[in-house]
Symmetry: C2
Subunit: 236 residues, 2 copies
Amino acid sequence: MSRPGESSREPDGRRAKTALFDEFARLAQALANGRRLEIVDVLANGERTVERLAAETGLSVANASQHLQVLREVGLVRRRRDGTRIYYELRDAEVFDMWRNLRNVAAQHRAEISQLAEAYLGARDSLEPVTRADLLRRLKRGEDVVLLDVRPTEEFTAGHLPAAISIPLAELRRRLRELPRDKEVVAYCRGPYCAFAHKAVRILQQAGFHARRLEDGLPEWRAAGLPVIAMGERRS
Amino acid sequence: MSRPGESSREPDGRRAKTALFDEFARLAQALANGRRLEIVDVLANGERTVERLAAETGLSVANASQHLQVLREVGLVRRRRDGTRIYYELRDAEVFDMWRNLRNVAAQHRAEISQLAEAYLGARDSLEPVTRADLLRRLKRGEDVVLLDVRPTEEFTAGHLPAAISIPLAELRRRLRELPRDKEVVAYCRGPYCAFAHKAVRILQQAGFHARRLEDGLPEWRAAGLPVIAMGERRS
DNA sequence: CTAATATTCAAGTAATCGATTAAAGACTTG
DNA sequence: CAAGTCTTTAATCGATTACTTGAATATTAG
């Protein structure tokens, strides 16, 4: 039935199985690069043009584009054209799940990760972050909490937590007076490995505010099926 | 603050972020090999010795061992020693989730996968497979269904669906008389990319039985939190 | 046509990867 | 402790692949 040279049983089955699993491996291969994972992490917050993506990740435009092609070939991202720009976004929610899954497994089992995370995000939180469940409970009870979105304005516009106010991290220092000193301020950003909220909490605490960080960011909130508010998008 | 040669803002932050995401990428890298994914897929069904794993995947023992070290270094598997053998198993349920997530995303977005899956598992199912929900509904109603586990006996012993009977695929042809002809036979094995159940259904249908395949296997059943029956394990 | 944005190409460097073989380790048993 | 079983490690080879950069090319808008 199969070619005569093969000695083991099921030679064709073996070959077919190998090909199939190699194909699965191609998907993992596309994720097996730190720069591409950074791109995925940014895209989890919404679509981006190549240029912006390049700026946010510190890559050259050409380089970012190449990485995007790798992600696109395996179906992790898709794109749409708008005039001369091209916007990329994650293919669907499952792609984000996969990234979250990957980083959770990594964080749980690898000491290196927590060290590197600490090096990047700053010393271990002086205060425990607020969990999503916590926050929901407190909001429902009507407790005095101010939710602060410290991401760039565009991202806030594209989608934010209900009742959140927007002060991009870069403007935080000079807009401190907009925040109340008698309530707790809960800051959030793009996710657990985004530095914005960490930095914001440090600034606020130094300025004497009662501030904490939400344990993770907008993408996780959305993935949990919680409501997200978007304002009229897609500037001309 | 940071070294003088760096021109861009946040030079240390960049470096730290790069290191962090590179570390995440190492985990994906460990999954980016077809042979290692085959190993993960087998281990999802329970622990295995190196020798057995090698036999089941068609690798040399040394080669299998090397792949296992790669998986172990990133924390995807762990091992225990029993006398002269070493048993490997997946670190925890999240690892299996990740593998399932990976293969789902791959299957959804890549035409290559379905072609290769068909080449390996045989022509597209003549009958739709039975879903887990379907099966549960029918069992609850007390409908006449025979659940057939076609994996090797050891795996059945280590854990199987409630009320399932065990006939390893290799013995199926000569044990056909143990199966009833007036009930539907639902066969299952290690998962959606395991060929056993596909082959079993083909054998049974040819022999005139009313047979279908469960859409996925024991690991998915267990991951769904459904009950699994284990018989006194760990032979001396 | 020009400007703006994105992709592709070519090139170079480096690095990695995977399989095999043989030797070494670890443990058990007699 | 010597022999036997199972597993890991080291060395090697071949080949391939991966990533970045800079220049050239597409694509679209105006």
